[in-house]
């Protein structure tokens, strides 16, 4: 039953994505309003879907592949709309919404049920998944912002001027936003991984197993982001290099997250 709302949200996200993409080329007030409204509508329905799932299953909806991806898309959309409300830079939507749409779509096509409630582990698992995906949502934004930064930087450097150049937010704004989302996402991811490690120790006796591809990938991803944060703070790494690294980091993160489900043999797989 909750799926009805979810699919409806997917359609509205599709509308929003379309709206924002059109906005890259054509700037009109009603297209802009439509994009925001459609996304907001999608988020509302998505929220209902998640709450409905919560109610139906009696537990936080973070246990199956579908639920985790849905939550991630939801969190990303939520943070994006907050940023749009705060900064009014609608072009960010052209970059973020496709990601929201993509993951909502993937969530829509994966099997909806995990294994039944008898395999439901303790409350720590929700915390682990929740924190990790909240962090991932923040990093999704860092990724988008980094992408926008790179595009604009390339255009400025090559002195090729397309109208898009003049519509993207300023480089400094993007860079600062990248830093802020990084500073939010990193503690979340770290906390999530720590919870996961503690949980792993409780269940399988060791904090980290180098045979589990998911855990290995998680650590690699975490290291990339740690490096990024460190480089920004101390070595004044900003702008282009930071953007590239945040893109690589997000790539690793996505691989980790998706890999968790593909490689169902791993210990930490959703099963």
């Amino acid at each position: 039953m909750d799926l009805v709302f979810f699919y409806a949200a997917l359609i509205l996200y599709l509308g929003g994505t379309g709206g924002y993409l059109v906005l890259l080329f054509v700037q009109r007030a009603h297209i802009s309003a439509f994009a925001t409204a459609s996304t907001l509508g999608g988020l509302s329905l998505h929220t209902v879907a998640i709450l409905a799932r919560l109610y139906l299953t009696g537990r936080p909806p973070l246990a199956t592949v579908y639920e985790a991806l849905s939550f991630f898309a939801w969190a990303t959309a939520l943070v994006y709309l907050f940023l749009e409300f705060r900064f009014q830079k609608k072009l960010m939507g052209s970059f973020v919404l496709p990601i929201v749409l993509l993951f909502t779509f993937i969530a829509a096509v994966v099997p909806k049920e995990g294994v039944g409630p008898d395999r439901v582990p303790g409350a720590w698992i929700w915390l682990h998944v929740g924190l990790v995906f909240l962090g991932t949502a923040a990093f999704a934004l860092t990724f988008c912002v980094g992408l926008m930064y790179l595009i604009q930087e390339r255009l400025l450097k090559s002195k090729r001027l397309s109208p898009v150049l003049f519509r993207l937010p300023a480089l400094e704004f993007l860079d600062r936003l990248a830093y802020k989302t990084l500073a939010i996402g990193f503690p979340l991811l770290t906390a999530g991984l720590i919870v996961g490690a503690v949980q792993a120790h409780a269940r399988w006796g060791s904090y980290f197993s180098s045979w589990d591809p998911t855990q290995v990938l998680s650590v690699i991803t975490w290291l990339i982001y740690a490096m990024l944060l460190q480089a920004r703070l101390t070595a004044g790494w900003r702008g282009r290099k930071a953007a590239i690294l945040s893109i690589i980091g997000f790539g690793a993160l996505v691989m980790t997250v998706l890999g968790v489900n593909v490689m169902s043999r791993g210990l930490t797989a959703f099963h």
């Binding site: 001027l161 150049l165 300023a170 480089l171 070595a235 702008g239």
Partner: protein, 423 residues
């Protein structure tokens, strides 16, 4: 009632003539007052900018107004009429209305999309309001034209792109830094080019300016004029550590800043981005420096390329603006039509109603034996006759008004039915 515009602009007259006809803002009120006293002009508005001097008027006697306005202009500005008579353009009716809409939208300006004209027209309108020289026709015209101009600015890209080297530089700086509040601009070289460009860079306010030149006195002079501070030339490397934008226009025959210097600089700045504008010829900054991360270097050719690329954009946006303006013109003309036609129709109806009432009363007085229902039949008939008689003329009048001779129909109708004197 006729609307007309008489004036000259950069399109018809050189600056030597335009400047003689310029009327300073402070005098607009009194000049306007004189224009409407003892004159065929019922309403009047004066627009006087560096690129145009125009009189917008409303008059019942078109010929008289067309004769009078140039004479008054000559008198008020103490300029011989023959000097500028052949430079004047006269527009009436729809053409005048269209012009009134195009001007504030910058579609008649030297630089399409310029933003000053809107404020100038607004001020001219307010001066006319204060002098009580306008009435409903011009008031509505101006208010609709001003709001249409705003619409054009927000809905088309006409004002977006830069058309001069300094404004191109500002646009690029904003791409890098967002707005320029609190930014530091370092100007190297105190010549004319530096001054012009620097003036525009600080125009928005909120940024601080540092000037440096080999000749320190010149630097101080320029800094004072622009309300910045001056530093000695050997200190520029220090200032470059904290400057966001560096404008270079010195006469140095070699590179002042080489790639290695800038590499070192950006490292010392911990990669805080810097925007270098090199408008000197020969160039002051090694172009290879653009390859350094977080260093953005544009020379004079690059900036002119930006300007050229945008000229085509502006032309395209101007077409879209023209469409918006056309819609607004049609809307105003329709309003004007209602202003003229409706009172006439109302007056006609009132006249016929008076006749109907009188005859009805007289007839009913002669038929006292009629029942209430029978009287009602007579009453209804009288109303129906009036309505049917009026229907055709009313529709036709409204239809004809949109055409050139529309006013003629109104006037003929008023004369034929003995309604109040011609408008």
């Amino acid at each position: 009632m006729h609307i007309l515009t008489i004036g000259l602009s950069h399109k018809t007259a050189p600056v030597e003539i335009r400047e003689r006809l310029h009327i300073p803002e402070g005098e607009l009120g009194s000049v306007l007052a004189r224009f409407v006293t003892n004159s065929p002009l019922r309403e009047c508005l004066l627009l006087s900018t560096c690129n145009r001097v125009e009189v917008y008027g409303v008059s019942d006697d078109l010929e008289e107004a067309e004769r009078l306005i140039p004479e008054r202009l000559a008198k008020e500005t103490a300029t011989p009429l023959d000097l500028f008579r052949d430079r004047l353009y006269t527009l009436t009716a729809e053409a005048a209305v269209r012009h009134a809409f195009k001007v504030p939208a910058s579609l008649d300006s030297m630089v399409l999309g310029e933003s000053q004209i809107l404020g100038q027209v607004k001020e001219a309108y307010q001066a006319a309001l204060r002098a009580e020289a306008t009435g409903p026709v011009l008031n509505t015209l101006m208010e609709r034209a001003l709001s249409a101009a705003k619409k054009v600015r927000t809905e088309t890209g006409i004002g977006e792109s830069p058309v001069s080297v300094p404004s191109a530089a500002i646009g690029l700086a904003k791409r890098i830094f967002g707005d320029l509040q609190g930014r530091t601009i370092l100007v190297l070289g105190a010549g004319k080019m530096s001054e012009l460009a620097a003036k525009q860079l600080i125009a928005d306010g909120g940024s601080s300016l540092i000037v440096s030149n080999r000749n320190f006195e010149r630097a101080i002079e320029l800094a004072e004029r622009l309300q910045g501070r001056a530093i000695r030339f050997d200190r520029i490397h220090e200032e470059m550590l904290t400057a966001d934008i560096v404008l270079c226009s010195t006469a140095a025959p070699h590179y002042l800043l080489r790639q290695a210097d800038l590499q070192e600089l950006i490292w010392q700045r911990r990669n805080r981005p810097i925007f270098l504008i090199d408008i000197a010829v020969p160039r002051n900054i090694d172009p290879a420096a653009n390859q350094i991360d977080n260093v953005y270097l544009y020379d004079i050719d690059d900036l002119e390329g930006v300007v050229a690329a945008h000229r085509a954009d502006r032309a395209r946006e101007a077409d879209r603006a023209a469409l918006i303006i056309e819609r607004e013109v049609v809307g105003y003309l329709r309003w004007l039509q209602n202003l003229e036609v409706v009172p006439t129709i109302v007056t006609l109806r009132e006249r016929l109603e008076t006749i109907r009432e009188a005859e009805l009363t007289r007839a009913l007085a002669r038929l006292p034996q009629l029942s209430h229902e029978e009287q009602e039949v007579i009453r209804a008939m009288s109303r129906a006759i009036i309505n049917k008689v009026l229907h055709q003329p009313t529709t036709e009048l409204k239809r004809q008004w949109a055409h050139r001779d529309g006013r003629l129909y109104v006037n003929v109708l008023r004369r034929l039915f003995g309604l109040q004197d011609e408008r």
